[in-house]
Symmetry: C2
Subunit: 298 residues, 2 copies
């Protein structure tokens, strides 16, 4: 297999280095940037630099696009007419789901003999290199996994519409990056009042050694009972931040979301037994799923 | 010691039941509501109901106010003129810090012989009853701890301005209730696309068995390096939610907060060694503290 990278920045070179160690020898790369630094990075992991996208397409059986979210569609359009029959084109950029789908349409139209995989990179690449968790969808997803798993890559295939992996990544980002923003906002206030350590200690004591997804289920399983009170308290917390001269950017949004939910839940019937079983065999485990369905339908 | 409750709802009766089991015999309560249910709840834990705030003040050495955030200031104003010299008045309602401080001023003005403790209840009362973690500040905070710890109550005393405990609770609420709102928003989208389990599994895999405060420190320790990228990705995630017909109430606020930070961090000098040690002996542990200071000053 001959593997080609479009873009040879930090992520691509980390993956290439890992694959080279696993014994993958025929590695190619094209980057719009040229120069000494790029040449050295490529030489380090035995990657041959090529001068154009057309040349990359001529060399590679499998192309990984690792440019930027903004550049992803453009490079796909540029390389597509050059892709040979049987080439697998995988987009690993952090694009919106609709852009992932659009790239798939571009490949299908301009390179009908090639095959497309839409890939979401689920973690920072450098520490994990080629072993970084990837989720792939699209017609080429299984072929991508079959081609790269023997070299230690970690690829989960998602059934679903083109771009499903990108939606998965976005939902994950909402929680993780949102949590970062929340901590930033809360601790700006806490630090100003000399209370940072107490806030952290209190959160550690309430939720020790909890996996983050499980914590979400815990919170949503109990949400229905407490939605109105929590909406009020979040509103109060947002006002308190404002009184401490911290603009409640996330907090006010969270108060709105909780109020939205509390209003919809008011007067909604408790879920029927059938509804309560949406989440699986055990109705207890499914309370948060029932909640999500009811809120979507309300 | 004779203990009086203002308000005898779910929280007060749970605490009273626990204290009665610990051997505290002289318990009194006043509630604006009257009737069979209240009488039975009081009888259950040997609490004597009194007919007025004045009567409660006449009986009790220690008064715990457990009404509502909205009613807290009003009952304090009403009972204050009746409080005897030496009485300890503790407000346990979820009021804003400035209301907590205002209650302190009311007590100081109208009941100069009494003593005030401003108390934040850090967890839901019913499952933990009298052992629920409390944080107290104000002139009566230590006396409150000394009076109630022998009966198994769990009271941390905070130094700081009147209302500091309430600020601590609010900062904690921003993270916890904000996280609930984030999960709600992210999983409304995920469930609609059939991806809920994948999102939860991915979050569990990335942050298994992590205490919540430690997770916050982890995210903020790395924030400086990634602020701009995370702000862009959060913006993209918010737009993706909107494209899925989920109003990005929290996500858009989080994107704003991350952008606010990224803009302030751009061009800021890396922290000096002295600044990097703000957080303690180990500069590594203090990176998030330095970040908070720099953002506050910028």
């Amino acid at each position: 297999m001959r593997l080609g990278f479009i873009g040879f920045g930090e992520a691509a070179s980390a993956i290439a280095a890992g694959l080279a160690e696993e014994g993958l020898r025929e590695l190619y790369a094209y980057d719009v940037v040229s120069g000494q630094a790029l040449a050295e990075r490529a030489a380090c992991c035995g990657v041959r630099l090529v001068a154009s996208l057309a040349e990359l397409a001529a060399q590679a059986d499998l192309v990984l696009s690792l440019v930027t979210a903004r550049g992803a569609l453009t490079v796909a359009r540029e390389i597509a007419p050059h892709l040979r029959v049987g080439t697998l084109y995988a987009d690993l950029n952090s694009c919106a789901p609709r852009v992932k789908a659009e790239i798939g349409q571009v490949i299908a139209r301009l390179a009908p003999g090639a095959c497309y995989a839409s890939v979401a990179v689920m973690s920072a690449v450098p520490p994990l290199r080629h072993r970084v968790p990837l989720v792939a969808d699209g017609p080429g997803a299984r072929r991508l996994r079959e081609a790269l798993e023997p070299y230690g890559m970690n690829i989960e295939v998602l059934e679903g519409p083109l771009g499903a992996a990108a939606i998965l990544k976005m939902c994950r980002s909402v929680v993780l990056k949102g949590l970062e923003a929340l901590f930033l906002e809360a601790l700006l206030a806490a630090e100003q009042e000399g209370l940072t350590e107490q806030v952290l200690t209190s959160l550690n004591a309430s939720f020790p050694k909890t996996s983050l997804g499980d914590l979400g289920v815990y919170l949503l399983d109990r949400h229905r009972l407490h939605a109105q009170r929590r909406a009020d308290e979040m509103q109060e917390a947002a006002e308190t931040l404002a009184s401490l001269a911290i603009d409640p950017l996330v907090s006010a949004g969270a108060a709105q979301r909780l109020r939205w939910s509390a209003e919809r839940l008011t007067g909604l019937a408790a879920p029927s037994r059938a509804e309560a079983e949406v989440g699986g065999e055990d109705p207890q485990n499914g309370a948060y799923r029932v909640l999500l369905h009811q809120l979507s339908d309300a």
